[in-house]
């Protein structure tokens, strides 16, 4: 009879346990451990890269694939976590409105045109995200597109009134807890148990995307005096970043993410600096033209009293030789004593921006704009005649060097490199000092640019449009790119805190969005 009951019990169990159960069940907490970290209230601080910005805009599906959202989803498999709230915009157009007027452009989509697929601004719908419609937070994702290091602690950065005046950020204005609140205050008020901080990119990126027109602030210590396109003073960056990291690390564990070399992104690597493709006749014509320029300049200089050998040496830099096939473009430079005409050919490492007018490049921008008048001057020279002063000006004026805003020259590249290195040294030092994780996003993006990163269904690299990692603005990542960042952060978390947070499946995250709803 005892046995009878035993078997009855087993029978009952057999029917109750109809739902299949796994031996090591994630749902039962058998698989993962949070280690020494506590992911229950994760707050992410940063800029556009934290917000999930992509394709030149902030839109819902991009936010849903932000790396903090990916992390939060994985954290929720490891332990009980609160809901990860993001300040979602209203639609997928990517544009913002202020008082009904559009203040940021719509996002890019990949549209097929006469010349094949290329990025274009989406025009299929009007944006509906009104900045002055304040969202009530708090929000776990405190990523604010456009924010620089010193903005996170800046009062009034989230002021709606300040947006029109240009003193506040429309993205933060949407969800700041008050007009005067700072990003850091709003983050700390949530008592985060875990944080990620990825800030500093814009402290150098703004300078880079504007072709280095701004200044590398090496002495000015008041960020209020910096322009958007300036590089932040590394001393100031170090101080500001230290305050951010120490305030956050006081009560929470977390990860600091360093700054990628901005020049490794498609925005700078897509338009080659040697895209001046010439046939043999045009190459000869250009070479002859620059011989003429060099010769005339020599005469002009001698006429001005410069000794002949010196004049020849100075003018000799303009006797540029062009060959059939690809040639590097010419860029404008400041007129100096050593470069009196103010142009030169690009060097191998110098970069062009993605936004350069490629139509103009095809029609003489970056080389020479030949006109009939120029041809006549050359004819005069070839006949052994002396050009008039007006003809000399016509000749020299035909050079159409690429403007500073479209190019990163070697000096600008050096500034970027110097600042990035200093910023990253600061970040790493603070990570060590506060016992935080340190993610080398710089190395990761360099890897994307040098061979790529493979996953179970293929690989991703930095190639524009086709590479899969970068969105159509050439700077921000695709969902797949953000998943790769998330995985690097997870690796670092697991190594630092003894946890085993699961990874994101990179191949399950999309790349660029297709649409013909463009103008």
């Amino acid at each position: 009879m005892k046995n009878y009951f035993k078997y009855m019990a087993i029978l009952a169990l057999g029917i109750v346990s109809c739902e299949p159960e796994l031996e090591n069940s994630i749902e039962d907490g058998d698989v993962y451990t949070n280690g020494e970290a506590d992911f229950s209230n994760y707050v992410a601080l940063g800029n556009s890269l934290t917000a999930g910005y992509a394709d030149g805009g902030l839109y819902v599906t991009g936010q849903q694939n932000s790396f903090p959202n990916i992390l939060a989803e994985k954290f929720s498999m490891v332990q009980e976590t609160g809901e990860f709230l993001q300040p979602l915009v209203n639609d997928n157009t990517g544009g913002l409105l202020l008082g009904g007027n559009q203040i940021t452009q719509n996002r890019f989509v990949l549209a097929v045109g006469a010349n094949g697929p290329s990025p274009a601004r989406y025009t299929g719908a009007q944006p509906t995200t009104e900045v002055s419609n304040k969202l009530s937070g708090p929000f776990n994702n405190m990523g604010v597109p456009g924010a620089k290091s010193y903005h996170l602690g800046a009062p009034n950065y989230g002021s709606v009134a300040g947006v029109a005046a240009g003193t506040a950020n429309p993205y933060f204005a949407r969800f700041s807890s008050s007009e005067s609140a700072t990003v850091l205050q709003d983050a700390l008020a949530q008592d985060p148990t875990f944080f990620t901080l990825w800030i500093g990119n814009n402290d150098v990126l703004g300078y880079a995307t504007s072709g280095g027109v701004g200044e590398y602030q090496e002495t000015e210590t008041n960020p209020a005096l910096y322009a958007d396109g300036d590089i932040t003073n590394p001393v100031i960056f170090n101080a500001v970043y230290g305050q951010l990291a120490s305030s956050l690390a006081e009560t929470a564990d977390g990860v600091l993410i360093n700054i990628p070399d901005v020049t490794s992104v498609p925005f700078f690597t897509t338009v080659p600096n040697n895209a001046l493709a010439l046939d043999a006749a045009t190459a000869t014509q250009l070479t002859q033209y620059f011989q003429a320029v060099s010769g005339v300049l020599t005469q002009v200089l001698i006429g001005q009293g410069v000794p002949a050998p010196q004049a020849q040496a100075l003018a000799g830099q303009y006797a540029i030789t062009f060959n059939e096939g690809p040639n590097r473009f010419l860029i404008d430079t400041p007129v100096t004593q050593t470069n009196p005409l103010g142009f030169r050919q690009m060097t191998e490492e110098e970069l062009l921006v993605l936004t350069i007018d490629q139509g103009a490049l095809a029609s003489g921008y970056g080389s020479v704009q030949f006109t009939q008048a120029v041809g006549e001057v050359i004819a005069v020279l070839q006949a052994g005649g002396m050009p008039t002063e007006a003809q000399v000006n016509t000749l020299f004026g035909a050079v159409s060097g690429i403007d500073d805003k479209d190019v990163l020259d070697s000096e600008e590249l050096a500034n970027i490199k110097d600042a990035t290195t200093k910023f990253n040294n600061s970040i790493q030092t603070y990570a060590d000092q506060f016992g935080l994780g340190y993610v080398d996003a710089n190395a990761l993006l360099t890897q994307l640019d040098n061979g790529g990163i493979s996953f179970d269904g293929g690989s991703v690299n930095s190639n524009f449009v086709t590479g899969g990692a970068f969105s159509l603005d050439g700077v921000h990542l695709t969902p797949r790119g953000y998943a790769i960042i998330a995985n690097a952060i997870i690796d670092e978390i697991n190594a630092t805190y003894g946890s085993n947070v699961p990874k994101a499946n990179v191949g399950a995250y999309g790349t660029v969005t297709l649409s013909q709803d463009v103008q």
Binding site: I15, P20, E23, I26, N92, A111, V112, R480, G510, S515
Partner: protein, 419 residues
């Protein structure tokens, strides 16, 4: 003795049960209760399915048997690497059967049968991690068969007849792991075809060398359900010439494989009957589900399966307690046709151990209620779907894997009439 039997029944029940691929072995509550044996058992009109040769051995002039089962089947899938867990939310399947036989004379019986030996209904959470393989699928095939059973000698009979099949399929999956429209809705396709007709046959023989022993063999032919001009419905397609998907027609062939059964039954005494069946299902025919879209701009869909022939071993026992109650129990091992590397969440079936039980209650001399249950438990399995590119060069999908565990609980009820 009775208690002993109850104990053994409970023991079987408490252990674990279902059929490989999309074969659903629920073609008779009496057979099912005995581990779905029956190719050599003369019991009731279920013989129309198990072995039509035996119909002529039924004592009564008119025999009928109808029944239906409720299939509660669940699958859990987990991927440790990516922290993903999913459970199917499949609709309850209701396979049924209806058999009728009429003894024309001592040597010849005629019959009619309708049954549903193939089917599948699996529903995963929409857009789940394996949605590029399947979101949901529903297969159904109704077999209708005319039968004749002929006694060659007093202890040897043959039987069989033509089968008409009406099949349907409805299958939805996402086109790949990521493609979405502008609003982020995943691009998916539903293929739907119903009332697809096909024909086949079955034939069997039964021999009793001595009164207590029967030996049976039965073969059911392969039937290819060829869907022509089914509807393919593409949804959430991005507005782009790069994704030229639009609603169209499709052709596809779904094989319902042949099955060979060989079995033996032994009547120990008036109370005890033992049965053993061996089935071989010729799944090898199911190499790939290829969907040929009518629109030439839409690439055809190749879904490699690479199934192999599978074996089932079935054991059953019947205890006739008294004039009213008959108790049954059984076990079978169900070998899966799915091979390593081809474990798709559309039919997540690995080998299973199946335990069955049931009883019949004779309400009157002519009418009996048949009840049976089946509990299938599958071993937990780490499996992937990653077709070998050398065998399936046209397959372009991404690999998919994880840990699976399935189970099924199937209660069933039927009525047997003999006049």
């Amino acid at each position: 003795m009775k208690r002993l039997f109850l104990l053994s029944l409970f023991m079987l029940a408490a252990a674990t049960t279902y059929a490989g691929g999309y074969r659903v072995s629920l073609q008779g509550q009496r057979g099912l209760a005995m581990g779905h044996t029956g190719v050599a058992v003369v019991n009731n009109a279920e013989l129309a399915f198990f072995n039509p040769a035996g119909l002529v051995f039924l004592e009564n002039k008119i025999n009928a048997s109808v029944g239906v089962s409720a299939v509660f089947s669940d699958v859990v899938w987990q991927n440790d690497e990516f922290g993903q867990v999913e459970r199917t939310d499949s609709p309850v399947g209701t396979p049924f059967y209806a058999y009728f036989s009429y003894k024309l004379n001592d040597r010849l019986s005629l019959g009619l049968a309708a049954y549903t030996p193939y089917g599948s209904a699996v529903e995963w959470d929409k857009d789940w991690a394996g949605s590029h393989l399947v979101n949901d699928i529903e297969l159904a095939a109704i077999y209708v068969q005319a039968l004749a059973s002929f006694k060659i000698t007093d202890n040897l009979a043959v039987g069989g007849g033509p089968i008409y099949v009406s099949g349907s399929v409805n299958f939805n999956r996402n086109l790949d792991r990521t493609l979405s429209d502008f609003e982020g809705n995943r691009t998916n396709v539903t293929i739907d075809a119903s009332n697809v007709s096909a024909f086949g046959w079955s034939a069997g023989a039964m021999w009793s060398p001595v009164d207590s022993l029967r030996i049976g063999v039965n073969y059911r032919s392969e039937i290819l359900v060829e869907a022509e001009d089914g509807d393919a419905d593409f949804e959430n397609v991005p507005n782009s010439p790069l994704t030229p998907f639009s609603d169209t027609q499709f052709d596809a062939t779904l094989p319902l494989p042949a099955e060979l059964s060989i079995g033996v039954s032994y009547q120990l005494n008036e109370q005890w009957l033992f049965a053993f069946d061996y089935n071989r299902t010729f799944w090898d025919v199911y190499n790939s589900l290829d969907v040929d879209f009518a629109n030439p701009n839409i690439p055809d869909s190749f879904n490699p399966r690479a199934y192999e022939d599978s074996n089932n071993y079935r054991f059953g026992v019947q205890y006739t307690a008294n004039e009213t109650f008959t108790l049954r129990a059984g076990y079978y091992f169900d070998g899966s046709p799915v091979q390593d590397g081809y474990f798709a969440p559309e039919t997540p079936r690995n080998d299973s151990n199946n335990f069955t039980g049931g009883l019949s209650i004779n309400v009157t001399d002519n009418v009996a209620i048949d009840a049976a249950f089946l509990y299938s438990r599958f071993k937990e399995i780490d499996a992937t779907y990653s077709p070998d590119p050398s065998e399936f060069p046209d397959y372009e999908g991404a690999p998919f894997g994880g840990t699976y565990k399935s189970s099924a609980f199937v209660p069933g009820l039927g009525v047997t009439i003999k006049i």
